[in-house]
């Protein structure tokens, strides 16, 4: 009996449990992006994911007494959960509308794999991320190691998202949520990063959003579609 009991996993403290739950929420939002068929929902899910990361930053700030992180949490919420979604929606207004209704866009059938298969592939990739990070043995003073594994899984799953969905919007959102994964990693391994650096990263993101928005508009103007399948013919 004692041998069996030795194999059990002790409960984490309520704090690290809560932090892990938020981190897992970020990963689940990433998986949710596989299924979204509407441009608007895709952007909303990104905003929800960004809010979760801000919430985690506030938890870390409050429990580890890092007041800089409050500023970062506020800035990242304002930028990633409010400004970026608004800018994206502005840039994409009227694009890809079906039958004149701007809420419906043609990103629905852009899966290279079926949703269930894509999720299975992503689970495998996420598991790879989990085990690699565990093998590195990185320990963080502010957050439990699980959060780090989850953040690496978020980054890898964002790559899978960009690969299996063949529409420009999902690929842009995949790229932006990849940045969310990087923010999460930064929060775990380098919570004490100077604020000026973090802010520089955040404003870099804004540039990326504008570039992506323009790319989407140009692509849609040329191809009359959100699908990237048309680009295959450009191969030499």
């Amino acid at each position: 009996m004692s041998v069996i009991l030795a194999a059990t996993v002790a409960a984490p403290s309520a704090l690290s449990g809560g932090a892990n739950v938020i981190a897992v929420g970020v990963l689940l939002a990433e998986f949710g992006m596989f299924r979204q068929a509407l441009l608007r929902d895709q952007v909303r899910l990104y905003a929800a994911q960004s809010s979760l990361i801000s919430a985690l930053a506030i938890v870390v700030a409050a429990t580890r007494h890092l007041p800089d992180l409050y500023v970062l949490a506020f800035l990242s919420f304002a930028l990633k959960a409010v400004i970026v979604p608004v800018v994206l929606r502005r840039l994409l207004r009227g694009i890809g509308a079906i039958g004149g209704d701007p809420r419906w866009s043609d990103i629905a059938g852009s899966h290279a794999l079926s949703v269930a298969n894509a999720v299975l592939v992503a689970i495998a990739v996420a598991a790879f991320g989990f085990f690699t990070v565990a093998a590195l043995g990185i320990r963080s003073p502010v957050l439990p190691a699980t959060a780090l594994s989850v953040s690496v899984a978020v980054i890898l799953v964002a790559f899978v998202l960009m690969i299996v969905r063949r529409d420009v919007v999902s690929q842009a959102i995949g790229f932006l949520s990849l940045e969310n994964g990087v923010s999460l990693t930064a929060l775990v391994v380098a919570a004490g990063l100077p604020l000026i650096l973090e802010m520089a990263f955040l404003f870099d993101l804004l540039v990326a959003v504008v570039v992506f928005g323009l790319l989407i508009r140009v692509h849609h103007g040329r191809a009359e579609s959100m699908s990237t399948a048309d680009l295959t013919s450009l191969r030499g």
């Binding site: 009996m1 009991l5 059990t8 739950v21 981190a23 998986f31 999720v119 996420a126 699980t146």
Partner: protein, 341 residues
């Protein structure tokens, strides 16, 4: 981890200490019998609550909460017919399935926090096997009828059952990693032991995955319309198509019992293992019966809300639903394995 007492005995194996000061104690076998009777008697009522709440939310008056009991009483008085060419399997299956559903409440914590005699014979997997046996018997009877509709339902139930099975396995793995056993009593004791056990992601993910499996197993909305007209999308509901009279009543009662058994496992093992009797006394046991019915009715309201807020998935999209549940269960095991989530 299951906390252990001074004697080295895990907490969930603790035998109740009976003193003479409080309300009289029931013999333990009687409590065990009460578990079965509670599930059997309350099951149609829980179905009644769900359909009543669902109707009220749609602005209809809806059937009485007690309507399923009247339906069963009516069906038991009716004549039973078997399709021509069907064998004894057709008539034996409802009885066999009912026996299975009466056995499972002996093994799971319906009313008590301590294990009852033979309660440790079956772990969560054991209970799952008995439930699968019941579903297999019903499917066999459906095949025996030769009716294409019942056969379609049975074949679909088995196909999608094979997809949800891995989810259940991963939920059991999570339980095993958390408690070191897969006895339902052990997990309930662990959940009660501290707040850290409740908000760890592995626990929440496993509970959510199990809830999704229960929605599939009880034929609720993202997967199947539970009540109403016959349609091509039916899975579980199509199987008893050819049964009639008392046999049909047994199948209906059995599926209501299966629903309450699954609700009990979710509530008393994963989500809310409070209100259970720690001693076999009349007072706590009566309280436990009331608590179980109250909790099951509350969960029924949640299920009714889901029934009313989502559309039925197309048959070929059910794999997406199962993939979602599988994702939750696998993430639960992964977070546990690495870093003790």
């Amino acid at each position: 981890m299951a906390s252990t007492t001074v004697t080295g005995q895990p907490e969930w194996e603790e035998r109740p200490v009976i003193s003479e000061s409080m309300s009289p104690a029931l013999p333990v076998p009687v409590v065990q019998l009460l578990q079965v009777v509670t599930v059997a008697a309350a099951a149609p009522g829980v179905s009644g609550v769900i359909s009543r709440v669902e109707a009220r939310m749609q602005g209809r008056t809806g059937p009485r909460v007690l309507q399923p009991y009247f339906d069963l009483a009516k069906l038991f008085r009716k004549e039973a017919l078997a399709p021509e060419g069907s064998s004894w399997v057709f008539l034996a299956a409802p009885l066999g399935a009912m026996v299975c559903y009466l056995t499972v409440p002996l093994l799971i914590p319906v009313l008590t926090t301590f294990g009852l005699p033979l309660g440790y014979m079956g772990d969560i997997l054991g209970g799952g096997f008995i439930l699968s046996l019941a579903s297999f018997l019903v499917a066999t009877a459906a095949l025996d009828t030769g009716s294409p509709y019942a056969q379609l339902g049975a074949s679909r139930a088995k196909t999608f059952g094979a997809i949800t099975e891995p989810v259940v396995l991963f939920v059991v793995f999570t339980v095993a990693l958390v408690t070191g056993t897969d006895l339902p009593y052990a997990l309930a004791a662990t959940v009660r032991s501290s707040a850290g056990q409740i908000i760890r992601p592995a626990h929440l993910l496993a509970a959510a995955a199990l809830f999704m499996v229960i929605l599939y197993e009880t034929g609720r909305i993202p997967v199947e319309t539970h009540t109403g007209t016959n349609e091509f999308g039916m899975i579980e509901e199509a199987r008893p198509f050819e049964h009639s009279g008392p046999y049909f009543a047994l199948l209906k009662w059995g599926s209501a019992m299966k629903q309450l058994i699954l609700f009990t496992i979710l509530l008393n093992v994963f989500v809310a293992p409070w209100g259970l009797a720690a001693t076999p006394r009349i007072g706590p046991v009566a309280l436990a019966i009331a608590a179980l019915i109250g909790k099951a009715a509350l969960l029924g309201v949640v299920v009714a809300v889901i029934d009313n807020s989502f559309a039925k998935l197309r048959l070929f999209k059910i794999t997406e639903f199962a993939a979602g549940a599988f994702l939750l269960a696998v993430l639960g095991v992964l977070t546990l394995y690495l870093g003790g989530g």
